[in-house]
């Protein structure tokens, strides 16, 4: 298939790319931009490992056509896990996932980062029930999710105390 020129905004930077019109956003991120943090776990938007944010909304990039998310007028601001760390330091949620065992093998972790970040922005004080429901689109096979809840609560606390950055 003949390639076409598209324009994407990813993690605050603008990229002009020549890609097949049917190329998936996940593949463009991983192959054309080298942003391999977003993972392919299932090919069919059932596992959440490929979760990214478009304008702050978590979405599954493994079933999105890249050409549909062009940024012509500043819309479709894409954020991947590579855009989560703040000013060279781990974001509170990234640090907390390490401290509380929220990440074991880490393959689902980038997807969870994007989902949890969106939750924390949308709902700064989620209940246990709201956290469970927010995470239900992301699968993990290592942790049984328990330690993630602790990590999320501790990250929320850290952010509230305004000590989001590392030691």
């Amino acid at each position: 298939m003949k390639k076409e020129l598209i324009e994407l905004r990813v993690n605050g930077r603008r990229h002009e790319l020549a890609v097949e019109p049917n190329k998936l956003l996940l593949d463009v991120l991983r192959e054309d931009l080298g942003l391999t943090g977003s993972k392919r776990g299932c090919d069919e938007s059932s596992c959440g490992a490929c979760t990214i944010q478009v304008d702050g909304v978590p979405m599954l990039s493994c079933t999105m056509i890249a050409a549909s998310y062009q940024s012509e007028h500043g819309e479709h601001e894409i954020t991947t896990v590579e855009g989560v760390a703040e000013r060279g330091a781990l974001a509170a949620i990234q640090k907390a996932y390490g401290e509380w065992g929220g990440a074991q093998c880490g393959y689902c972790t980038p997807g969870f980062m994007m989902t949890v970040k969106a939750l924390m922005e949308r709902n700064p004080e989620p209940t246990d029930e709201e956290i469970r429901h927010a995470l239900s689109g992301n699968l993990c096979r290592c942790t049984g999710y328990s330690q993630m809840y602790q990590a999320i609560k501790s990250a929320i606390e850290a952010e509230q105390k305004g000590m989001a950055a590392g030691r």
């Binding site: 298939m1 097949e20 991983r30 080298g34 942003l35 391999t36 943090g37 977003s38 993972k39 392919r40 776990g41 299932c42 090919d43 069919e44 059932s46 596992c47 490992a49 991947t80 896990v81 590579e82 989560v84 760390a85 781990l90 949620i93 990234q94 640090k95 996932y97 390490g98 401290e99 509380w100 065992g101 990440a103 074991q104 093998c105 880490g106 393959y107 689902c108 972790t109 980038p110 980062m113 956290i131 469970r132 429901h133 995470l135 239900s136 689109g137 992301n138 699968l139 993990c140 096979r141 290592c142 942790t143 049984g144 999710y145 328990s146 330690q147 993630m148």
Partner: protein, 882 residues
Amino acid sequence: MSDFSVIGKPISLIDAPSKTTGQGKYADDLYMPGMLIGKILHSPYPHALIKSIDASKAEALEGVVAVVVGSDAPNKYGILPVGHDETALAVEKVRYVGDNVACVVAVSESIAEQALELIDVEYELLPAYFDPEDAMKAESDLIHDHRPNNIEKDYHHVFGDPERGFAEADAFVEGRFIANEVTHAAMEPHATLAYFEFDPQTGNEGRLIVQSSTQVPYYLQHKLSIVLDMPMQQIRVIKPLVGGGFGGKSEIIPLEIIAAVAARKAKAPVKITYSREEVFWAHRGRPRTIIDLKTGIKKDGAITAVAAKVIQDGGAYCSYGVVTILYSGALLGALYDIPNIKYDGFRVLTNKPACGAMRGHGTVNVRFAFESQLDELATKIGMDPADVRRRNLLQPPAVTVNGLRVQSYGLPECIEKVWSASQWTQRKGKLNAGNTGPMKRGLGMACSHYVSGAANSIIRSDMPHSTVNIKIDRDGGVIIYTGASDIGQGSDTMVAQIAAEVLGCKIRRVKVIAADTDLTPIDIGSYSSRVTFMNGNATLRAAQEIKNKIASAAARKMNCAVEEVNMRDDMVWRTGKKPSSNGAHAEDILELVDAPRALSPETGESPLGTVREVSGRVEGQILRGSLQQKRKDEGPKDRMSFEEAVVTAIEVNGALSGTGSYAPPTDARGGKHKGGGVGPSPAYSYAAQVAEVEVDEETGHVSVIKMWAAHDCGRALNPVSVEGQVIGSVWMGLGQALQEEFVWKDGLLMNAGMLEYKSPSSVESPEIECFIVESVDPEGPFGAKEASEGSLAAAIPAVANAIYDAVGVRLRECPFTPERVLSAIRAKNGEKKISMTGGVDPTNPHKLREHGGAVVYKGKGPKRHEQDPSRKAAVVPGVTGD
């Protein structure tokens, strides 16, 4: 025991940031210039001869570089030396839907996929076997010609005198249990990148480099050498980050071999990544298992004998099968004190994806049966299930009747923990008082255990199972070279903790270089929960060796005996001269010691501040070197920093390195009987759990309200990690207990997807409260044992026993889906049967059913080939189907 500085502390995994930021590279994230993509053509038939393969149209497609077929690499291999029955790609015959037929290598994935469609394969269909009990009767069209009756392996063990044991029993129960097939479904699909380097002498193809999602780099190197006819030292296997294994990456998966063969044929780097569906076909999960179990007991609760006949539906290849069937029998022992054991195990071949090792290898399904039956016995003799378990404890140190050596034994404490936390006595059997509604609650208890590494390696030898090298250079950095494969369980962090504790340095000094066959000494892999015990011990010994060198050099320096040298928290001091606790950092000691010369009493400048100004100009080691020189000139001191001690030791030794290795002691290697090599371990972990469930009597839906899980891990080197492993195990067990299972139709897997397979999400996952029990093993590193597998098995029978407590039905087939639970409840109430489970009573299952029992597909499956043997089930002997 609190006297550790690093051990026992909750420490973030040292690779956590690479995972939370996306920086870390997994196999599929790797890229090479000129890299090609491989795609595999899979068999659409469960059992067929390959008459011909015509790949000419595929090869002619623009962008296709090579098409690889079985004859390109016909050498047989398999993870077990006794089970070499696989080839990279099918030679002559395919044995399951999904078997590997050909591989297209092309410049892009989409071209490779197009090319797959252009390969013409002519098959001649053979009758296929889907049910192990039918397969065992087969006399013709065997799956492997060298395996009569399709039996891969059978074992018949008798320990003690089971007949007498049953004669002495006051009561016994016997019954058939069925556990359906489950798989690892690690989040990372398998991926392999393979390429060749050029040989500088000949200019030809030289060394092979393979980067792969594997738990066993050394075994992969070994099998590549067999299939590619290359010496092992010409092959380098590197394990990048691995996105979970659970046993699914603990053997050689076809794509790992195919990628290497393809790279050789295409003369370019080749990467193959499985789709999720292919991961399900590659499988190697826990086999469907039929367990005919009989247990005898006395009135006082003492178990007198156990007899088990186990049939495993192993799929089309041996894989780990021989080991799996042995574990099923061997680990009937070592949990309780059972004087008489009879075991008959059959590993049977069928035309389905091969089963292999999965978390709790071989023990889980039998444990489900045993712990369920133990509750039946308790009911029969009128004893509390918790008391029955307390009555049958081992008295360690002990050697079981089947030759397993047990030293540390935290099971009693595990039982007490969950017993009291769940308020067992007050609540068991009393949760439904006055409840007339359909939602019934119940409590159930079960125990389990697992090895801390197999005492005998797959490739038998007297060589160590783990070797670790440690290097410390003048920068004061500690580098550990370990073959241990971190697959997410945290082994890199574990070795770093052990080394830091022994050397008395901060963990941030420690870097870990792991699982690269060129750089790291051999470790046989991450399986059988062996890494903490074995690689941990090797690390401990390597660190001890290097510590001795540092301590003796420091002793000379401080004019004291070696025994008087203390090393901790980056400080080295003579006994009785411990630096004050606020000088915890090495730099601080250096600075404080040298401060008086820089300090001006008039200005009152902080000594720290003054020295730091200097360090701003002269970075790191040069400054340190000069300070060290000054101190050296000033004669003996009572204390020094870690870096000073290192420099002193380098001056004495010339170089600072240590090596340690570990081989299990001979008295832990088990009995001499045939098959006695599987089951023995230097130490066993123990677990006890209580499940609280809620059963909807109207729908049969079971939800787990809470799990209390206690695990004896010897010593918790990193409590956060231990808790994570235990909770993860229990959670995976709950998946198998309630919802995960393979559903089959004519040998075709019907639910090869993450949603269809029903991996539990956060909303389906209950709270799991974890209790760590530390029995401190005499041989484990700092007393540690395994923490990752032993808890899985107890979850399933704990739920089964809780369902019985809630609604009075005994489920003998797992998972306990609503269909099965409702069928059982209706049967108990004498209500009209609904054919949701193919007419089979889940409290008394008699055989494996092709569909796994959840849904009946009769006549509604996918359209099958007109020559498909399942369509001729009536005329072809030995074939099941509808």
